[in-house]
């Protein structure tokens, strides 16, 4: 692939979803775009890339290229600690703060094949105090294909052995051949919607908890701060944001501040929380 062809792919992906394709990821382009080239009857990935250089490439082609280039790496209870914090710190706080309305809304941004929202759903299900509450978990991703997989809630043996405690597998999954099917009571707690993090998220509603983990690492600084600003705009004043272990708001956005004693958890920065429009999470 020539530098010009590689550049065409990188520019398309960046324009469409903000993802920065660094030169060290160039090796991914070939393997990820091969199936797309085949579907579009192109003789090679290079030919596909040249199609992207045309003034107005087909929208479906652009979408498939973007979907192929985003990373879908995820697993159940990834890094474990954020979920322990959710159970021990965030949920008790919300149980007290939302006692009158009994509604909690949680957003998993860039949820990929659904393991993160489903992990959260399992935690909420295992929290007896939430029994009569409405817990709405919204999983979004740019890729409609991966959302289809998420919605199906069917996982391979490999996937259910990454992060998922065996007791939860036994409790919430049914075996179907060599696949594991998550049961309807957990799946019904999560709704999936296609969403591009570059777009305004208003239509998703307001959230008490936002998980946006291991996503910002793929973006440049202005894109990161734009995303954080948009997330802040749909958070309840006392809501919390989770970022991945290698991510921070420091030097990226002044809309958030770290929650003391809770590593990786952020809340709206105090001036914003005071001056910004007061919004309660509403379905």
């Amino acid at each position: 692939m020539t530098p010009a062809e590689l550049d065409a792919v990188a520019r398309t992906v960046r324009r469409e979803c903000g993802l920065v394709l660094t030169p060290d990821k160039a090796y991914l382009v070939d393997s990820r775009l091969m199936p797309v080239a085949r579907r579009w009857a192109k003789p090679s990935v290079e030919a596909l890339a040249r199609e992207l250089m045309a003034p107005d490439p087909p929208r479906d082609l652009v979408r498939e290229v973007v979907e192929a280039m985003v990373t879908n790496e995820t697993f159940f209870f990834r890094d474990r600690k954020p979920f322990d914090q959710l159970k021990a710190f965030v949920l008790p706080r919300l149980l007290a703060a939302r006692a009158d309305r009994r509604v909690i809304r949680i957003w998993c941004a860039a949820c990929s094949s659904g393991q993160e929202p489903y992990s959260i759903a399992m935690i909420c299900k295992e929290t007896p105090q939430l029994a009569n509450w409405k817990v709405e978990i919204v999983g979004t991703d740019i890729s409609t294909e991966i959302l289809r997989q998420a919605e199906a809630g069917s996982y391979s043996q490999f996937e259910v052995q990454r992060g998922l405690p065996i007791q939860l597998l036994v409790k919430h999954f049914e075996q179907q051949g060599d696949r594991w099917q998550l049961d309807a009571s957990i799946r019904s707690m999560v709704s999936f919607r296609q969403f591009n993090l570059l777009d305004p998220p208003d239509r998703l509603g307001t959230f008490d908890v936002v998980f946006c983990r291991n996503v910002l690492i793929y973006f440049d600084l202005p894109t990161k701060s734009g995303i954080l600003g948009r997330i802040a705009s749909v958070m309840a004043p006392d809501g919390v944001l989770y970022l991945g272990g290698a991510e921070t708001v420091l030097g990226v956005s002044d809309r958030f501040q770290p929650v003391r004693t809770q590593q990786g958890v952020y809340e709206l920065a105090t001036p914003d929380a005071r001056q910004g429009p007061v919004r309660m999470a509403a379905g």
Partner: protein, 121 residues
Amino acid sequence: MKSCLVVDDSRVVRVVARRILEELRFEVVEAEDGREALERCREHMPDAILLDWNMPVMNGIEFLRTLRAAEGGAAPVVVFCTTERDLKHIREALAAGANEYIMKPFDSDIIADKFGQTGLI
């Protein structure tokens, strides 16, 4: 350093498991069936046991039941590691006192993950 007893009748599996566990800083002891595993436990109760199901002489589930009834046998974290991958076997293992369950094939990520979940690492 924590200790882990690897119980499997396949020498290849024991070698692979040993390599992974030593990288995770476990002191590894091996046994090739349930009866030998019980002897190892009598000599020294390990912190963890990685346990195959189907073995000659005494299989994994019989070993586990005997272990859990024995003095000091409640302590070790027992992680099954077997080609038995249906819910019936998994439930039976948990009822007998297994802490975690790995469906073969396994790799170092799965072992690290399961050992992490049970608080061993």
